[in-house]
Assembly symmetry: C2
Homo-oligomer: 150 residues x 2
DNA sequence: ATTTTTGCAAACCTTTTGCATGGAA
DNA sequence: TTCCATGCAAAAGGTTTGCAAAAAT
């Protein structure tokens, strides 16, 4: 039933116990959609009286990141944030107005990375690309009203 | 003529006062070379008895980031780090063994970013690319001794 | 002389940890 | 029943802030 939730499924598959707090966190995350900080998640949990302590929240997030179903990213402000995602290498575009995210594949990027390695002489092992802008929805809103993002 | 130091020059040009602590921080940074965390810089300053308080260090770093002569980046570990750099849009490759960095231009990447925008429907405003690997020097060392990075 | 900058110390925030209790398998 | 996971509360970092004193212009 709730194993429909991909995070819960991943926890289950990996043999972790499906506890009340973990289920609550997983549910919050998939319902949430966009990116979120640990604090945001904590206060949502508090509002809904889900009884998830701060320590447990962080432990759950760490677990999910390890399992690859949640990714940690860094906002331009330097804040740490998380997004739920499929367990494979990829990147996210983040809407700076509404927080919506989309996954992005490596097409074209891999080649650029290879080129950078060639030019710099570095053997490049990993990279992180974070993109920020306006999703289609917010472009329409901003374009219509002339409002500025943020 | 410490105005030879590009950070000092930038401070001067922007009309900030060239104080003892700022000069000390600027000097530490340009001498340092690779990336560094605020704490690392703080402890180096302490060792050398430069008399730069923590608060001032952070204020100086913030200033330099604002001026564009220092960039803040996020290591894979999630730690915040800084590197000194030229004030233009670019990215860094960071050696995960020795901390050496090289600047990288956008060639090829811009196109990839444009393509991502097209595919995702987002209007992409900014992006951050962080690359990690081994610099030429460390490749040679690791290759020779068979040691593994980190 | 005036205004900016600093140092100190405390506050703040986020994240982690030890340990006894509680809950899943 | 047996571990694993949780909560609590304290600790550990990292970063910011208010304010009086010090320094740069």
């Amino acid at each position: 039933m709730e194993a429909r939730n991909p995070i819960v499924r991943a926890l289950d598959d990996a043999g972790y116990r499906l506890t009340e707090p973990r289920l609550a966190v997983a549910d919050l995350i998939v319902r949430h959609g966009g990116h979120f900080t640990a604090s945001e998640l904590a206060s949502t949990a508090r509002q809904r009286r889900l009884g998830v302590s701060r320590a447990t929240l962080f432990r759950a997030l760490e677990l999910m990141v390890d399992l690859g179903v949640v990714e940690r990213l860094d906002l331009p402000s330097g804040e740490h944030a998380y997004v739920s995602c499929a367990p494979a290498h990829h990147h996210h575009v983040v809407c700076s107005r509404c927080g919506r995210t989309a996954e992005v594949d490596d097409t074209g990027l891999n080649e650029a990375v290879r080129e950078i390695g060639r030019a710099s002489g570095f053997r490049i092992d990993t990279h992180r690309l974070e993109l920020f802008g306006l999703c289609r929805h917010c472009q329409a809103i901003v374009g219509r009203s002339g409002a500025s993002p943020d």
